[in-house]
């Protein structure tokens, strides 16, 4: 994942400290299982067109990703691996691909081409899976599970901006979560107040490069292969699970405000804060009532 993970858990006892160490281990294990760069991994086998059996974490993450892909009509697509590699965002050496390369790589994209039967993936042709969009959220949720199981009464797990808070923090007040303002890591767009739950943000300022006077960010539109230009600078989702928040924030970023907010209809306990390119900030109804939000 390459991100900094911070875990804080209460009360500060030896047992809880051990739990924190285990939580870190759990997150590392999930990262190893879902990392598509390793050549001997299951994901590499998929790229060669082999039929594979997914186990445990990988299966859970993949199944969930497929569900969101269906619900978002492909705005979120876990089969974007080849396109992402072309852009180089996953290797920290980003570059602008040639149009021809991009078109070729887009041919490998398409979640409809893949089916999960039990734990076995069937695909007509080689598949490039990139689960980065959801693996972090899943890891955060699992880390919180470890903490809870081992006796922590409250805590917060933050993997580079995708986080989950549980329990009553010492002092009894609600958790205060800042939402970063686009383009300035020292400024906030606002502060959320939640009793517990997960918060994830997708923004065009997290990973990007500029060339020829244009900025190319890492949230790619599976339809075009290019960075999504939907009029949004960032999408912040509040939900019970970080896996859901992570996936939805990416999907909605690609879909844009209107279609994106449609995706949230009927989802209880899910709230969104959208920062538009115009600077305007849109929020769903629950923001300000079910969850607190102070604009900055």
């Amino acid at each position: 994942m390459g991100t900094l993970v911070e875990i804080a858990a209460y009360p500060d006892t030896g047992v809880v400290r051990t739990a924190v160490a285990e939580a870190y281990d759990r997150m590392e294990a999930i990262e190893a299982a879902t990392d598509h760069r390793k050549e001997d991994s299951v994901l590499a086998a998929l790229r060669r067109g082999e039929r594979v059996t997914l186990s445990g974490d990988l299966r859970a993450v993949f199944a969930f990703a497929m569900m969101i892909a269906r619900e978002s009509s492909g705005a979120f697509d876990p089969t974007m691996g080849k396109v992402v590699s072309l852009w180089g965002f996953d290797m920290d050496t980003p570059r602008l691909p040639l149009e021809q390369e991009l078109r070729n790589s887009l041919k490998t994209v398409g979640f409809e081409k893949v089916t999960l039967a039990g734990s076995i993936i069937k695909a007509g042709s080689p598949v490039w899976l990139d689960l980065g969009g959801v693996a972090k959220g899943y890891a955060v949720d699992e880390a919180v599970k470890v903490l809870k199981e081992q006796g922590a009464s409250a805590g917060i797990v933050n993997a580079g901006g995708d986080l989950k808070a549980f329990g009553k923090k010492p002092g009894g007040k609600r958790w205060r979560i800042g939402v970063q303002a686009p383009d300035d890591y020292q400024e906030l767009a606002g502060v959320l107040e939640i009793a517990n739950g997960a918060v994830a943000t997708s923004g065009d300022y997290e990973r990007y490069f500029e060339t020829g006077g244009k900025r190319y960010h890492h949230i790619l539109d599976p339809g075009t292969g290019y960075p999504a230009r939907s009029g949004l600078r960032s999408v912040t989702i509040v939900a019970f699970d970080c896996l859901l928040a992570d996936a939805l924030s990416t999907a909605i970023f690609v879909m844009g405000p209107e279609k994106g907010l449609e995706l949230l209809k009927g989802r209880d306990g899910v709230h969104a804060i959208l920062v538009l390119e115009t600077g305007e900030v849109l929020t769903t109804d629950g923001v300000g009532s079910e969850v607190g939000f102070e604009r900055r």
Binding site: R176, V199, T201
Partner: protein, 141 residues
């Protein structure tokens, strides 16, 4: 010898060379009162409040950085005169082993409320508490 109020020549000299006067004492009392009441008024008027802060902003010639007050730590900050230690303990910050001659800065700490400051002028270091009630548990990016 010229009498009178021409103070710009030598003859004005004698009016000062005397023992302390009643006026001197009045002035002294007035200034004593001022010295103890002015700070309350000035600090209150500027809007700084007595809320515990969560970060300190440390400014040196090289720039500024923000350090959390929640983690006990020792930070070494360098200025033109040398290195000084900023120690964070129990949510408070203070300056230790400053290389300046008067060590005023060392006596200015510990600080913990929003707006409170420590200033080491010779070594060009300033430490100011910020954050107040806006303390955050995390930031989503």
């Amino acid at each position: 010898m010229r009498e009178g109020k021409d103070h710009f020549t030598t003859s004005g000299a004698s009016s000062f060379l005397q023992r302390p006067t009643i006026w001197d004492t009045c002035l002294l009392i007035f200034l004593l009162l001022l010295t103890f009441t002015a700070p309350r008024i000035l600090i209150g008027a500027s809007g700084d409040s007595l809320k515990a802060g969560s970060y300190i902003e440390v400014r040196t010639v090289d720039g500024s950085s923000v350090i959390s007050l929640k983690k006990d730590a020792t930070h070494i900050v360098k200025g033109p005169l040398g290195a000084a230690k900023i120690i964070i303990e129990d949510g408070q910050a203070r300056m230790e082993s400053a290389p300046c001659p008067l060590k005023i800065c060392e006596a200015m700490g510990p600080i913990k409320n929003a707006g409170e400051t420590i200033l080491c002028l010779p070594n060009r270091i300033s430490v100011k508490v910020t954050g107040g009630e806006g303390e955050l548990d995390a930031v989503s990016r």
